[in-house]
Amino acid sequence: MFLVVIALLPLILVSCTGTAQPKGGWSGPTVHDGVIYVGTTDGRVVAINSSTQSEQWTHTITSIIYTTPIVAGNLVYVGTYSGQVYALTIDRGTERWVYPRTGSMGAIVGSPVIADETIYISSSDGRVYALDTTYGDLKWKSDPLGERLKLWTSPAVVGDTLYVSTFDGHIYALSAETGELLDWFFESEAGFASSPVIDADTIYVGSFDHHLYAIGIGSNISSMWKFPQENPAGNWFWASPIVNEGIVYAGCLDGKLYAISAETGEELWQFESTDAQGKATPIVSSPVLMDNLLIIANESGNVYVINPETGEGEQIKNPENDNKPTINAQIRTPLCAHEGLVYIRGEDNQLYGVDIEKGELSWNISLTREE
């Protein structure tokens, strides 16, 4: 009997925790010229007409995708967990180039960024890569930013400098031209959980120590402020904040959205998001601003529209049942706001269009390929 229990041990352990394999990725949608581009949980990039919600093309990558596609010129770029960057044509989804052609540059989790015909990618091998957007040629790759350090955040580019936040509590500045490490860096006791966001010579970044940091760029390398100023927040600031008109809006894994004065770091207001049972639920996705309204989504599937001045908000109701979350799936992907609609890819591999003006779920389509 005991041997049977031991033999079942693998099954018991795996069923209790799951395996070390990633699941479906967190690729969010992006909109360009009336077409939505999004990575699916079954390893494809699809292009969907935003008016008709019909699929224009699909490109199978057969890798988990955590990055949100990014469009520049006539190409859409996506990084994969198998460690490759794909450039696909926006009209047909034909592969223009892939880097590296063979092998892997290390799992890509943070979405790439594009500036001056260069695509910058953080990799799990601890390096930042710069590729030519047209041909996919390697321009440079940085030295590893730490020993055995995975880079899962996106870099931020300002002028000719690239800023990268790391899990070991550093923000490094790299030359966007050569990838060389610059003298400027910032060091914190705890690691940084979110990608850096830069506004008016200030970096805003969330930390594992339950604080959001504002760090001056350039000669002033000290922390300008950290929020909350006294007791730490209830959890990590995982999602990148957004900054608008001197106010930083930061979603936290404690379920709250905080509005913070960019100048002083003082709290202006906070809004608590909950699940259907009224329990505070983590905000994993960054908030978006549209038509002077803030839109946030929490992990339980609830979507809220919030007045950015007062912090008063309302949940968008589920069309089928008022007591259910806005959508019937978890939300971990970045949101995309465009012309009155917010596009969300749920963990159920469906794409949702939320009409903000009407305050209702407008449509949803399945991204799962029909056999």
Partner: protein
């Protein structure tokens, strides 16, 4: 509250947070943290282990009496079993007692497996899930993320062949030290099978699971061998037979 929530509240999250806090206290060395946690677990389960070791010693001392019973009732298995159970009862010994400390450790194995997978955040999902399970201790938040390297091992990856041999070998030694020779041939056959199967199975599990968990097994076995040696006063039933013929046979 669901059974899963209760599990995490009582066992899963405490093990995870203690492990991460230990790692920070030990200079960010996650391997050392697992070793220290193993020692703590062995200390907590010491009363149970002590009882089991005393049972083992009592079984060793009872061997002459058991052999007498075998001679006396060898042909009547039912009677032999009855008399043996009577003898065990009189001596306050449970022949299956050695299994309990292992069964008690089952929840700890599961919690440790979960803790290793989550603490090392091998996937983005693991890292995000970790956020919901950490206490708001400074020591814990400053320890994230953890370094998975220890000696030649990546504690988040599957164990290698060498580690499997260490786990299997130490388990075999520990079992061999405690396993009294059975009187009943059927029991002897079962014992022999257990003596081989368990180390083989754990060696195989080492190749399947994160080496951090196998490190726990190996250290736990070594501590078991050491405590057994001192409590029972020697190597017990682990007898090394000389491969050479005895001196009396030399002249033949």
């Amino acid at each position: 509250m669901s059974p899963g929530d209760i599990w995490y509240l009582i066992i899963g999250n405490p093990v995870l947070n203690v492990l991460i806090a230990l790692s920070h206290l030990l200079g960010g060395n996650f391997g050392l943290a697992i070793i220290v946690l193993t020692v703590i677990v062995r200390l907590i389960t010491w009363p149970l282990n002590k009882r089991q070791l005393k049972s083992t010693k009592a079984l060793q001392d009872m061997q002459p009496k058991l052999q007498e019973l075998q001679k006396k009732y060898g042909k009547n298995q039912q009677k032999l079993q009855q008399e043996m159970m009577k003898l065990y009862k009189e001596a306050g010994v449970n022949p299956l007692g050695c299994l309990w400390p292992m069964l008690v450790q089952f929840p700890i194995w599961i919690a440790l497996y979960q803790a290793i997978m989550r603490a090392l955040a091998t996937t983005p999902e693991n890292l995000l899930d970790l956020a919901q399970r950490l206490y708001s201790w400074n020591i814990v938040s400053q320890a994230i993320p953890l370094n998975s390297q220890f000696l030649w091992l990546d504690l988040g990856s599957r164990g290698d062949f060498f580690l499997a041999i260490i786990v299997g070998g130490t388990m075999w030694v520990q079992q061999k030290m405690t396993q009294a020779p059975a009187i009943d041939p059927r029991q002897a056959s079962t014992n022999n099978m257990m003596l081989l199967m368990m180390p083989l199975m754990f060696g195989f599990l080492t190749l399947m699971f994160p080496s951090g968990l196998a490190l726990y097994w190996a250290v736990s076995n070594i501590i078991g061998i050491i405590t057994q040696y001192f409590v029972t006063g020697g190597w017990g039933y682990l007898k090394f037979r000389s491969p050479f013929p005895s001196s009396s046979a030399k002249g033949k």
